[in-house]
């Protein structure tokens, strides 16, 4: 709870800094502030508390996922110092919105009432609609913002309809009250199931699971690269946290009613994500499809509600987010210097900048799920989760699609190491990008080599 308050205050500070003519210090202040908030959050580990008539709860789940979300946002903000160096007059607006996005995310990780779920999703989404369209004079950015906005609000309609139906049946927005209804009702009303399905659809939309994934490649491609990084990591992690929270508390007694559907969607998502990614030439699109595919794998973690599944989901989220941020930290300067976001912009990077190319390679290897990086064990954990639940056909699809997936990550690696260099383009990696990339890769490696502290968290 405190985390949410502090973060809101930080966002407010970012906003008013402009009035006080403190633009230069916004980013350092935001990063340091987030670090302090991270410290405070971690100290809450082990406590369980309800706040404000049980609107939000602090528990180990919210602390763990919340810390991850804060780390992700902190890294992205660190990158923004260079990314927005030519847009100083907007920097405080952008930073405030990004921090507010995090507020929405934190709400989503600790809610215990549907009202908070709804508001969390909306804070997160509205901030991102704005950020996606923030390159005002770029038609791609416009289009991305509009597409995201229209489809997101459309999905919000379904989310609300679902919430309304569940409220109508149970008479409450409170997650535990809903669960109590489920446990005590002799015959659950069909309206309730309809509500659950509507809610499920809206959340599947937000995590970009097929067939509700169409927005994400277009939006990822059109948005400013840094915001793409934020969407690919923070939104995905947070939405999966919210997803899991919803199904572990409110629908804990649903008795696997949705499992079959989720399994179906997961299979479709993995296949569509990986297959479509094969053909992509735009790196942001490629990462979008990779994100879709990863959403498919993460859905496997939702299928069961156990402490093991929680750990697996958390580990996977962390592995995915770290690798993706590392990839973007290398990719963004390349995009900027090449003026292109195509795979060909990476041609010969292995020769020009061997170190950063190596970082990107490692990040992609982690995403592809090859040891010794965290991505491999993450897949392993989440796959064994599916196995434990008896989804063997799903497991098979997951493994096959993950093997197809390796191919397109290597497309990028191949471009870096085997294509001739365009000598005229000189890529400069600002120090902060190097630091972020190295940090993420090292963390990813550390997690991969020694997963115990994280995997035994819950």
């Amino acid at each position: 709870m405190n985390t949410i308050i502090y973060t809101s205050v930080l966002g407010f500070i970012c906003m008013v800094a402009e009035i006080l003519n403190l633009r230069k210090v916004i980013i350092p202040v935001a990063v340091i502030g987030l670090a302090a908030i991270l410290g405070l959050t971690v100290m809450e580990w082990g406590t369980t508390a309800t706040h404000f008539n049980d609107m939000v709860r602090t528990d180990n789940f919210s602390v763990a996922f919340g810390s991850l979300a804060i780390i992700i946002t902190g890294l992205v903000i660190a990158l923004s110092s260079d990314y927005y160096k030519n847009e100083q007059n907007h920097i405080s607006d952008y930073m405030a919105i990004i921090v507010f996005t995090l507020v929405g995310g934190l709400v989503l990780l600790s809610y215990s009432n549907m009202a908070m779920l709804f508001l969390g999703i909306e804070i997160l989404s509205i901030s991102l609609y704005v950020m996606a369209g923030s390159r005002k004079y770029n038609t791609s950015s416009n289009e991305a913002g509009l597409k995201y906005f229209l489809m997101g609000s459309f999905a919000s309609g379904f989310l609300l309809f679902g919430i309304a139906l569940i409220y109508g049946v149970t008479g409450s927005f409170h997650l535990e009250a809903i669960n109590t209804y489920l446990a005590s009702a002799t015959a659950v009303s069909p309206l309730f199931y309809l509500g659950v399905l509507m809610l499920l659809v809206a959340i599947l939309f937000k995590v970009s699971a097929a067939p509700f994934h169409f927005w994400s490649p277009d939006v990822y491609e059109g948005s400013p690269a840094l915001i793409t990084a934020l969407m690919a990591t923070l939104v995905k992690v947070v939405m999966f946290g919210a997803f899991y929270r919803l199904f572990s508390t409110a629908f804990g007694n649903l008795g696997g009613y949705t499992n079959w559907l989720i399994a179906l969607v997961a299979a479709l998502t993995m296949v569509v994500g990986n297959l479509t990614a094969l053909q992509q030439v735009n790196v942001k699109r490629l990462l979008a499809f990779s994100g879709i595919a990863h959403a498919g794998y993460l859905l496997l973690g939702i299928l069961s509600i156990t402490t093991d599944a929680t750990s697996a989901l958390f580990y996977y989220s962390a592995a995915y987010a770290l690798a993706t941020i590392a990839a973007f930290a290398v990719a963004i300067p390349v995009f900027q210097s090449a003026g292109s976001e195509l795979v060909s912009a990476f041609n010969g990077l292995g020769k020009r900048k061997p170190f950063m190319a190596a970082m990107l390679t490692m990040a992609l290897i982690s995403l592809a799920g090859i040891p010794p990086f965290a991505g491999f064990l993450a897949k392993y954990y989440i796959f064994s989760e599916a196995m434990a639940n008896g989804f063997f056909a799903l497991l098979l699809i997951a493994i096959v699609s993950s093997i197809i997936g390796v191919y397109y990550y290597f497309k990028l690696i191949l471009a870096m190491y085997t294509q001739p260099t365009d000598e005229s383009v000189d890529v400069k990696f600002p120090t902060v990008y190097v630091v972020v990339a190295v940090l993420c890769v090292l963390l990813s490696l550390a997690l991969g080599l020694y997963p115990n502290p994280v995997i035994q968290l819950f």
Partner: protein, 138 residues
């Protein structure tokens, strides 16, 4: 332009339903927010962009048929699942004051104070966003 007017009519009739459902305060708020603020905003943008001359084009035939079918299917599905429910036995209580200001206000500022506060973050974010997006740069 006409659609905006039609929309306003629709909002007023929904407000009428609110009154019938004993949600008097909400009905007023609804009119103020929707008809008074949101639709004015719409009208304002329509005027600003000078859109009223432009005829509203339609999609291709295939897309329209597909849209009709899928929308119809959605309604059918909703209908089917609603029909099976047994909520028809509920009858509206004759007299109720739950929609009165004092009652709703108490709920809002006791139980739902946190969402109320948090929605300020949402509004703040939306304000900054709208300004950032709509402001003309020099």
């Amino acid at each position: 332009m006409y659609s905006v007017i039609a929309m306003i009519v629709c909002f007023f009739s929904i407000a009428g339903h609110y009154v019938l459902l004993n949600a008097q305060f909400l009905a007023i708020v609804h009119i103020i927010v929707y008809a008074g603020a949101i639709m004015v905003l719409f009208l304002f943008v329509v005027m600003l962009l000078n859109l009223n001359q432009e005829p509203d084009k339609s999609h291709g035939k295939l897309l329209r048929v597909a849209a009709a079918i899928s929308g119809g299917m959605l309604f059918l599905v909703l209908l089917l699942s609603l029909n099976t429910s047994e909520t028809g036995t509920f009858v509206l209580p004759e007299k109720s004051d739950i929609g009165m200001v004092q009652h709703v206000g108490k709920k809002l500022f006791n139980e739902y104070v946190l969402p109320f506060e948090i929605s300020s973050v949402l509004l703040l974010s939306a304000i900054i966003g709208s300004v950032v997006l709509a402001k003309k740069e020099a």
